[in-house]
């Protein structure tokens, strides 16, 4: 680096900080931020008690900061297997790899992995820069959400035309559908014993999605829940 003194400029070029794609929609006043996985993310809003309550009624949590890895191609399944990643047997289903990494099979030959708390598989895979025939890395920048609480189906029924209730969406199923008019991926998951819905959409729609989810959540007696409610 030629003739550039970072400190004098008051900007640390070596410290790469990313911002959650939903941040724009989160009201600055009430949001407590924290850097998780190098991403500035909302960990709290109006205090633990309120958020615990919302979580039970209808909580919306931004978990975009979780590490993700995408790969597709005829050999993608094999390649993941070679990297000791447990993959779901069927199209549009998911599995948990050593309780730490969510592995989604989107269609038959595309995969989306997401490290849960303590998971590290995505980082490891990302480190492998070797390129192999019929295995194509899919760069991801998703906005990711946890939707929790007793009224969650009411919220989803306003945003999605298909039936996402337990009777219809089996526990290991992944659906690629439209939510609030944009493409999204949805599944049911259990986090710390709590059944929740997970939702992913393109990060550039993140702020919009957050706004829509929150508007309805508030109408239904819930609201924003910070990441802290899920960090253990």
């Amino acid at each position: 680096m030629q003739g550039f003194d970072v400190n004098k400029q008051g900007f640390d070029v070596n410290k790469i900080v990313q911002v959650s794609p939903t941040a724009h929609a989160q009201s600055a006043e009430i949001t407590q931020w924290q850097i998780v996985n190098d991403m500035k993310i909302a960990v709290g809003f109006e205090g633990a008690d309120i958020e615990k309550y919302r979580k039970k009624v209808l909580g919306v949590t931004d978990v975009s900061c979780l590490a993700r890895y995408g790969v597709k191609g005829p050999q993608a399944a094999q390649w993941l297997a070679d990297h000791e990643i447990a993959i779901p047997a069927n199209s549009n289903s998911w599995t948990m790899c050593d309780q730490k990494t969510l592995v989604m099979r989107l269609g038959s030959s595309e995969f989306l992995l997401e490290d849960q708390w303590g998971g590290g598989a995505c980082k490891q895979l990302a480190a492998d820069s070797s390129r192999q025939a019929n295995v194509y890395k899919v760069a991801r920048a998703d906005a990711a959400f946890i939707l929790s609480g007793s009224a969650v189906l009411n919220l989803l029924s306003e945003l999605c035309a298909i039936d996402l209730s337990e009777q219809s969406l089996s526990s290991k199923e992944v659906v690629m559908t439209q939510v609030a008019g944009i493409s999204a991926t949805v599944l049911r998951q259990t986090i710390a014993g709590e059944p929740v819905y997970r939702l992913w959409c393109d990060g550039t729609y993140g702020a919009y999605m957050w706004q829509v989810l929150l508007d309805i959540a508030v109408e239904l007696g819930g609201g924003a829940v910070g990441l802290a409610q899920y960090q253990n």
């Binding site: 390129r131 025939a133 194509y136 920048a141 029924s157």
Partner: protein
């Protein structure tokens, strides 16, 4: 004088709660649970509304929202359906479409001149002489419409939900409730919906003076509510039927879009008014309306009522009236004979029965506010003649009418059900039901209560079987006994005013006359007379209209057929249908930065892009020029993250590009960039972009923002057909892009990367992968806005980091941001045409002189064959770069001003702008081929018509026009 009677078992009132309200300035009281109409009737008011056309006084007709006799406003909302809207504390109500008051409506004179207004009169007058029409139209327009819209009415957000069930039952009457219970028993999830505030249908009010049915109803309801897999929705209506069993259920709260696997329609039937002179007077009402008044609202319809009937139902109504304390003056039966048992019962009560008689006309009270009597005469049922020779008058203060029914079949029709007219019951009933649709009860032609319950069981079993579960299938039930409907309940009267359609004031003679004029087809008749076109959509009028037409044409009813049924079952509020309304949009990771730096945003596709950054008070043009000057003199930076970005992985990547785009890519070197042009099969330019080859088997494409999604979609489609060995990855949202341009761009960038940026190492149209500010970036060197432009493609979430780094180090070099509007000026200065701006939906590459981008010697590319044809055809227009005169000071031409020669349009400006840097107005325009030579001139006509001379020059303007 109140008509309120003692508490009725099963009534819908809470008599402990008094409600105070006003109607037309008169203070009144009601009970909680009263509708506006029931409260007014209880208070002894009879003139509750005025008709649409003749402004005739109107009272209750159906009390079931099947007519619009009574529309009121509370000053906020309008066209409120008083029959079903509950009265609430403090309401101040008045009737709509009146002048003065509903009692003394100044417009009621129109009724007296109605002979001047025959059917379709407005087609026959006011148009000659032509110049007078606006005058007449103005008068007619004033008369039009019902309520007055309140422009301050708030935008109300109603919830719209998608719900799903196995069986949807429409109508919670006896057959519907029975069907729902059975389906639930079979383990199916059931939703049952009813438009009334309480379930039960006719079981609640059709009692023939005996309260036994109340217990029966309670028992049914208990069963239904005991099933937790049944959702019972009352005060909710099924608004329409849409393909694959999608049925919107509308309630005050919003809309539930129900997707059902099977649908049972048990929607019952609408009672139909017999037609006789003055059958629309206040206090002439349907028998079922009288029953509803009594049993739902504890209100006595009349003191001395007369019953006109043409079926056995009227006898039941008479018994209910007696029970309510109404003195039944007489039962007039248009048939030869009525049911023996009922007859006996009524005679016991001393009711006089006139069979084979009709009401020839109702007599209005002196102030026309009600009925004072009825003229009765013998009736020839066969030939539909009123034998007036020995007619006589009976005094009464009201008439209840029961002539028959028509099925509430709207949703069955909309679902494509085949309907057949059944002469045994004089009603259209389903003959061929679509898959998964079932019908039960009155709508299915079954009237006897016991049979309706059986029909509910039968329909439920059919639905259960359809859904693949075991169920006993039983035969259809056929009606026994006398017909519930009269074949032709119409009493001719030379003076007319015998109304068929109460919404539109249509009388029998209007149909006769319409037919005379050739409108003797049911659809034409509907359009000419407007029968059934009012807000109640013919619920009480279509069937009689069909009967009348059948008689006129002397054809059987089924030969006449019915008009097409359309959604909605009831008029449905715009706010309900609209719901929340989503406006999805995409933001780049720098959106907040642009916002805080005063950017003006523009929508490009779903994206919000920064267009320019005006200083406080700075005009758009000045801001754009200032940003452009920065790029020319020092450096500018732009957020190009909205560009479409697509990766092609795999050995066949180059092959794919050669087939999909017009250029050559197999020979493209790794590290090089090439131009992409996409055509459609007809050779029209769709879009363009850049292909950067990152490896033998990896291309990185960047294409215009607005088309990106569509282009990627097409690439996927062709890959499906070609099945080449490659993978397509859309990374539009995953990668962001920053463009840094201008003389200082290189030095600024150099401070943040180890990449050798020298022209030798990194010439124009090359791509490099390197770390910039510590972030792995794809660096593309372009000449789109300046020959010193570097485009940095980095992960979207890391764009802000790189941007900040560049801004920080760029500060001392005069680096400043520029927006997409400025980019347009810069690319124009560089002489680059833009698809979508400088091309339209029909432009081919030859017309924008892009022959260089077309490699016709390739084996194939999309549009190639069409270009081969176009190449043989004379060029009709071509895009040329032009300048206006040095220091041109006239009216500035605009994009899309025309190029004019003599009287002809010979072209059009596609882009024009003043360039401060060049010091001239520059642009692109289409002109005829004879005007394309360097130095040739043409005239542009400005908005105000002045002609401005333009001269064709060479691009880039930058080099050639700077101080030219």
């Amino acid at each position: 004088m109140t008509l309120r009677i003692a508490k009725q078992t099963g009534e819908w009132l809470n008599r402990d709660k008094k409600i105070h309200f006003e109607f037309e300035g008169q203070a009144l009281t009601a009970f909680k649970g009263d509708t506006i109409t029931s409260a007014l009737w209880a208070a002894g008011l009879t003139v509750l509304g005025r008709s649409f056309k003749y402004h005739r006084a109107r009272g209750i007709l159906s009390l079931a929202n099947h007519d619009v006799n009574i529309l009121v406003t509370d000053g906020i909302d309008t066209n409120m359906r008083a029959d079903v809207v509950e009265v609430t504390e403090g309401m101040k109500l008045s009737a709509v479409n009146t002048s003065g008051s509903v009692k003394k409506d100044k417009n009621s004179y129109i009724d007296s001149i109605s002979p001047l207004l025959p059917v379709g009169f407005y087609y026959k007058a006011f148009h000659t002489p032509r110049r007078l029409f606006p005058f007449w139209e103005n008068i007619i327009r004033k008369a039009a419409g019902l309520g007055i819209v309140n422009f301050n009415y708030p935008r109300i957000l109603k919830r719209k939900q998608h719900t799903h069930c196995d069986v949807l039952v429409i109508g919670a009457g006896p057959s519907g409730l029975t069907a729902a219970y059975l389906a639930a028993q079979a383990g199916l999830t059931v939703t049952i919906v009813d438009e009334n505030k309480q379930a039960g249908g006719s079981l609640g009010y059709d009692r023939a003076g005996d309260a036994a049915s109340v217990a029966q109803l309670q028992d049914l309801l208990n069963k239904v509510t005991s099933q937790d897999n049944i959702t019972l929705l009352t005060a909710s209506y099924a608004a329409g039927y849409y393909p694959d069993h999608l049925i919107p259920i509308v309630s005050a709260q919003g809309i539930s879009k129900v997707r059902a696997r099977a649908v049972i329609v048990a929607s019952g039937a609408f009672e139909q008014p017999p037609v006789f002179r003055y059958n629309d007077l206040p206090a002439v009402m349907l028998g079922s309306a009288a029953q509803r008044l009594i049993y739902r609202y504890g209100v006595k319809p009349f003191n001395h009522g007369l019953v006109l009937t043409a079926n056995d139902y009227g006898y039941r109504v008479a018994l209910d009236l007696l029970q309510a304390g109404t003195k039944v003056v007489a039962v007039v039966d248009m048939r030869k004979a009525g049911d023996a048992a009922y007859t006996a019962k009524l005679i016991e009560h001393g009711v006089k029965i006139y069979t084979g008689h009709c009401v020839y006309e109702a007599l209005a009270s002196s102030d026309k506010s009600s009925v004072k009597g009825a003229v009765i005469c013998a009736y020839d049922d066969k030939n539909n003649l009123a034998l007036t020779s020995n007619k006589f008058t009976l005094a009464c203060d009201g008439i209840a009418m029961s002539a028959g029914w028509t099925g509430a079949s709207a949703l069955l029709y909309q679902a494509g059900t085949g309907m057949q007219f059944n002469y045994q019951i004089e009603q259209f009933i389903p003959s061929r039901l679509p898959d998964g649709m079932f019908a039960a009860g009155k709508v299915n032609g079954v009237f006897n209560l016991e049979q309706r319950l059986q029909d509910g069981v039968r329909a439920a079993n059919a639905a259960i079987g359809y859904l693949g579960l075991k169920a006993v299938q039983t035969e259809a039930i056929t009606h026994t006994g006398s017909s519930p409907s009269h074949p032709y309940p119409m009493v001719p009267h030379e003076k007319g005013k015998n109304f068929v359609d109460f919404d539109e004031d249509i009388q029998i003679k209007d149909f006769v006359n319409a037919a005379k004029e050739g409108f003797d087809n049911i659809e034409l008749m509907k359009r000419f007379t407007t029968v059934g076109m009012g807000p109640s959509q013919g619920k009480h009028s279509n069937m009689n209209a069909i009967r009348i037409l059948a008689k006129i044409r002397n054809l059987p009813v089924e030969k006449i057929g019915t008009t097409t049924s359309r959604p909605f079952f009831h008029p449905t509020p715009i706010g309900h249908l609209a719901g929340r309304g989503f406006h999805a949009h995409r933001l780049t990771s720098l959106h907040d930065w642009h916002h805080t730096h005063g950017a003006v945003f523009t929508d490009i596709g779903a994206w919000k892009r920064a267009a320019y950054y005006p200083a406080p008070g700075q005009a758009k043009q000045d801001a754009i020029q200032a940003e452009a000057m920065a790029v020319r003199h020092s450096a500018g930076i732009i957020d190009s993250s909205s560009f479409g970005k697509i990766e092609l992985h795999g050995p066949d990547a180059a092959e794919f590009l050669e087939r999909f785009f017009t250029g050559v890519y197999k020979t493209q070197k790794v590290g090089a960039c090439r131009y992409l042009m996409l055509l459609d099969e007809s050779g029209v330019v769709v879009d363009d972009g850049i292909a950067s080859r990152l490896a033998e088997d990896l291309f990185y494409l960047s294409i215009g923002t607005s088309n990106a999604a569509a282009v990627y979609r097409e690439m996927q489609r062709y890959q499906q057909m070609w099945q080449l060995n490659l993978g397509l990855v859309n990374v539009t949202g995953a990668f962001g892009a920053i463009g840094i341009a201008g003389p200082a761009a290189r030095i600024i960038l150099a401070t943040l990367t180890d990449l050798d940026l020298s022209d030798e190492a990194f010439p124009i149209s090359c791509v490099r992968e390197a770390k910039v500010a510590g972030v792995a970036a794809r660096v593309i060197r372009l000449s789109f806005v300046s020959d010193k432009t570097y485009e940095l493609h980095v992960p979207m979430s890391q764009v802000p980091h790189v941007w900040h780094a560049l801004m920080t180090v760029g500060e001392k070099h005069g680096l400043r941001p520029f927006g997409s509007d400025t980019q347009r000026l810069l690319r124009l200065e560089m002489g680059h045409a833009m698809p979508g701006v400088d091309t339209d939906g029909l432009t081919n590459p030859f017309e924008i002189a892009a022959d260089w981008a077309i490699k016709m010697n390739k084996a194939y590319f999309i549009g190639q064959r069409s270009l081969a044809i176009l190449a043989k055809r004379p060029l009709r227009k071509q895009l040329v770069p032009f300048v206006l005169a040095q220091n041109f000071a006239g009216e500035m031409p605009m994009d899309c001003n025309l190029v004019i020669e003599g009287q002809d349009i010979i072209g059009r400006v596609t882009s024009i702008s003043y360039s401060q840097f060049i010091g001239r107005c520059i642009g692109f325009a289409y002109v005829t081929p004879d005007k394309t030579a360097l130095g040739s001139t043409f005239s542009i006509r400005t908005d105000n018509g002045s002609l401005v001379t333009a001269t064709v020059v060479a691009t880039p303007f930058l080099n050639n026009q700077k101080d030219a």
